[in-house]
Structure formats: structure tokens, C-alpha cells
């Protein structure tokens, strides 16, 4: 993969347009191939319409701003993206989290730490007494500027679970996907996290890594790869972590652009469809998670958020949360959902089946 240097939006790419993306993925005939509709697959498994279950995870996207421009990014994040959540919207989120009874708050971006109200928000969430606060930290942000160097201590202080992408245990693959020099900086950042206790069994400070394929193929078995990662990272760099999550790339945004530009799209879709697993379909994350965008709108998941598919519910903004049961709705699905149901399944917490 070549590394993108700018977001789709600032390149004025047609893939920046969610309507265009939806047209591409929902057209059933690509290169003469007919791709079976995801709804039909769900129907065959008795899962259509897809309905939420108990709300457990509140995922909040603090903005599209990021210090990296990863080739596969489904957020189309980057330094040129200025959309970030305001403190007012964060306040609305705090009220909603309390009302929802969700046990986990999952903060993502972009690089969520780049939002100037990030630390304030984390402190306020801590006061709510939720069981778990997750920060999706891209690692390099810790080294990007002096003001971020103390993030490991800040995370520790608030008992944050850190989840970080490391697409491979060597630089070739990692840098191809995330940018030149990212692997080396990520290793340095992981060492800083280890130093304050992250990844050590007894510390209670959880550091989980995320693998996602650097190309048009599916992820390996999560447990096998976790063992391999642990062996390699420990012996080469002395790095420890808790669990590895394997995630499948969904055919949207920059990864969709990559698939189309390299002629891999049709075969990749075939692969996802062929690997459809009804068990993974029953466990898709949108059933127990809701996703809040930087502007406060509510989505079934982070992917639907990037496709501008707001929840199919009368209340679509976090300011109105609680006026009606948000779980009483049909989840909006489309062809990109095949990425969540292939093989062992994929979610923000890794494999699902």
C-alpha cells in the first residue's frame, strides 16, 4: 500500500462523499459480478431486520482530527480535518451516558487526545462511575508533541483501558499502512505505556493492540496471532500487552478508495460474502453499542457514522437522548456490513465468533 498524505476530503476525492460510497458498495453488479445483498443474507439467518439488544457501550467520536493519515482509515481522518466535538456536545453526552446505564464508554477519533477538551471529558466521565473507559490511542500521538508526553500517566490516573493499532509486529507492514516511521514511534510509545505499568498482568492497567490487514485480505485467527505478537514484541522490544484484537477492514472511505484503485474491490467483496458467518452476524457490535459523532448525531456504529447513516429512530441527536428508547429501532445495514460478519467476525473489540 502506498501511504496517503492527505484526507479524501482535502483531495476533493469523490470517495469523501458518503453518497458516492454508498452507491459504489450497494450496486450489486461490479465488474459483472453480482454481490448478494446483505439484507438477504441476514434474512436467511433469521436476523432481518437487525435489532439492537441491551445498550452496553457508548462509543463517542471526538473528531476527525488526527496526526496520522493511515491509508485504510474509515474516518478519513488527518491533520487537515478540523471537525471536533465541542464541550457543549460532550456535556450532552455525559447526561446521556448516565441515563443509558451503559457500562463502557469508548472514546475514539481521529486522535481523541487532540480535542482540547479531551482531558476534561475523561475526568467528567470518570465521575460517572462507569465500569470501563476506553481510549483508542494511535500511539504516535504520545510522541507528536511535548504536551502529549504525559498521556500514559494521565491514562493511568483514570484507569483508562488503552486500545492501540499496530497492524504488524514489524515496520514494513505497519509503515505501509500507517505512514513512514510509524512503527518505530509506536514501539517507543508502547514502551512508555509499559513503563507506567500498562500491559503488566498485576497492574490492572489494560493495554490491548489491534491488528488489521494491510491489504485486501482477511485477518488471521485472533488467538494464534496474539501468541505470535506476544512472542515477537517481547523478544525484539521487551514490550508487553494484554490482548490482541483482529479487525477486518470494511469497504468504506479510504479503504474503499484503495480497493477500487487497485482493482481489488470485487474480489474482496466476494471474499467477505463467501466468509459470511451467521454466528458473527448475531454478534455484530451495533446490537450493544451506539456511536455518537463529533456533532452529536447518533449512529448504529462508527462505520454508519462515516457513511452519514443516522439512526433509524425519531431521536437522532444526543441532546434528545432518553426521551425515547434508542434501542427500539431497526439497525441500518448495507453491503459494508459484510466486513463485520466475515470469518470469525469483526468489531471494535476484535473477533466476535
Amino acid at each position: 500500500m502506498t501511504t496517503a498524505t492527505k484526507s479524501l476530503k482535502s483531495r476533493h476525492s469523490e470517495f469523501a462523499d458518503s453518497y458516492f460510497q454508498l452507491q459504489v458498495i450497494s450496486s450489486t453488479a461490479q465488474n459483472g459480478h453480482a454481490h448478494l445483498q446483505f439484507e438477504k443474507k441476514l434474512e436467511e439467518s433469521g436476523l432481518y431486520p437487525l435489532r439492537p439488544q441491551k445498550l452496553e457501550i457508548f462509543q463517542i467520536n471526538l473528531g476527525k482530527m488526527c496526526n496520522q493519515v493511515c491509508k485504510h482509515c474509515h474516518v478519513d481522518a488527518g491533520p487537515d480535518r478540523k471537525e471536533i466535538m465541542t464541550r457543549e456536545t460532550m456535556e450532552q453526552c455525559l447526561i446521556a451516558i448516565r441515563q443509558s446505564g451503559a457500562h463502557t464508554v469508548d472514546l475514539t477519533g481521529g486522535a481523541p487526545e487532540m480535542n482540547p477538551d479531551f482531558r476534561w471529558f475523561v475526568k467528567e466521565i470518570s465521575k460517572l462511575g462507569v465500569e470501563k473507559i476506553i481510549v483508542r490511542c494511535n500511539l504516535t500521538i504520545i510522541l507528536a508533541n511535548k504536551k502529549y508526553h504525559d498521556l500514559p500517566d494521565f491514562f493511568k490516573e483514570h484507569g483508562i483501558e488503552v486500545v492501540s493499532s499496530l497492524p504488524f509486529y514489524n515496520s514494513t507492514r505497519t509503515d505501509a499502512q500507517r505512514g513512514d516511521g510509524v512503527f518505530e514511534k509506536s514501539i517507543q510509545a508502547l514502551k512508555m505505556l509499559n513503563q507506567v505499568g500498562y500491559g503488566a498482568e498485576a497492574s490492572g492497567l489494560v493495554l490491548n493492540l489491534v491488528y488489521n490487514p494491510s491489504g485486501a485480505f482477511l485477518p488471521p485467527s485472533q488467538s494464534t496471532l496474539e501468541a505470535e505478537y506476544k512472542k515477537r514484541l517481547e523478544s525484539h522490544f521487551g514490550i508487553r500487552f494484554n490482548s490482541l484484537f483482529t479487525i477486518t477492514n470494511l469497504p468504506i472511505s479510504r479503504f474503499l478508495e484503495y480497493l477500487m484503485e487497485t482493482g481489488n474491490y470485487s474480489d474482496y467483496m466476494d471474499k467477505l460474502i463467501q466468509a459470511f458467518n451467521p454466528v458473527a452476524a448475531a454478534n455484530v457490535m451495533c446490537r450493544n453499542t451506539i456511536s455518537v459523532g463529533w456533532d452529536g448525531y447518533i449512529y448504529d456504529c462508527d462505520f454508519n457514522q462515516m457513511l452519514d447513516l443516522k439512526v433509524n429512530h425519531p431521536l437522532q441527536h444526543i441532546a434528545d437522548f432518553g426521551k425515547k428508547d434508542i434501542q427500539d429501532r431497526d439497525i441500518i445495514v448495507n453491503q459494508h456490513c459484510y466486513g463485520c460478519t466475515a470469518g470469525a467476525g469483526s468489531s471494535c473489540g476484535g473477533a466476535t465468533a
Binding site: 504488524f168 514489524n170 514494513t172 507492514r173 491488528y211 490487514p213 491489504g215 485480505f217 482477511l218 485477518p219 488471521p220 485467527s221 494464534t224 496471532l225 505470535e228 466476494d270
Partner: protein, 110 residues
């Protein structure tokens, strides 16, 4: 363009049962079992398959096991080392026959 090998044909592999379903079923069942985790891991088996694919020079198998090894978490260096194992055995198999050549030379030459 007509070619002897068409990448699209790989997807039709399972259709070979059309002319003889019983043996095809036995083969695919057996094939599936061979590649399961066993005394060797599925990942090790995939790398062996990639090396053998280069030995039998089957373009379908090379495509299939290049992707399969990646999906088993291997990287480029591991794929290439596997191919070199095949190359070394193939080359070695030729070279070791030179002993026979040398024997013959010594037999017939002064």
C-alpha cells in the same frame, strides 16, 4: 484474451464435482482435514503449501496460498523464505545428481 490459465477459474475449483461428485467430495473433505490445525499448525501447513505450489508451479495454488499465508498472519519475508526452501530442495535435487555424473566420469575417463 484467451489464456491457458484464467484467474477466474480458481473460483470454479469446487465445480469439478460436476463430472464426478463422489471422488470430488472425498478429495475436498480430505483437503479440508489436511489443512486443519494438527501436529503442525494451519499456518505452518499454509507455508508448506506455498512452497509446494512453487515447486509444482501452479499459478492457482500460488495465488491461493499467497493470500492464505497472509491471512494466517505471515509476512513477506516468511513467504519468500518458504519459496527459497522449495528452490533449495529443487536446486539441490539437481545438484546432488552431479555425484552420479562424477561417478560416471571417473568410471569412463582416465
Amino acid at each position: 484474451m484467451k489464456t491457458y490459465y484464467n484467474p477466474e477459474d480458481l473460483k470454479k475449483f469446487s465445480n469439478v464435482g460436476e463430472f464426478e461428485p463422489n471422488l470430488a467430495k472425498k478429495f475436498f473433505d480430505y483437503y479440508g482435514d489436511v489443512f486443519k490445525d494438527g501436529a503442525l499448525t494451519a499456518r505452518e501447513k499454509s507455508l508448506i503449501a506455498l512452497a509446494v505450489a512453487h515447486t509444482v508451479q501452479c499459478p492457482y495454488c500460488i495465488d491461493a496460498y499467497t493470500v492464505d499465508t497472509l491471512e494466517k498472519g505471515c509476512d513477506e519475508a516468511q513467504l519468500m523464505e518458504a519459496v527459497h526452501v522449495a528452490v533449495a530442495i529443487r536446486g539441490g535435487a539437481s545438484l546432488v545428481h552431479s555425484v552420479q555424473m562424477m561417478n560416471k566420469v571417473k568410471e569412463v575417463a582416465m
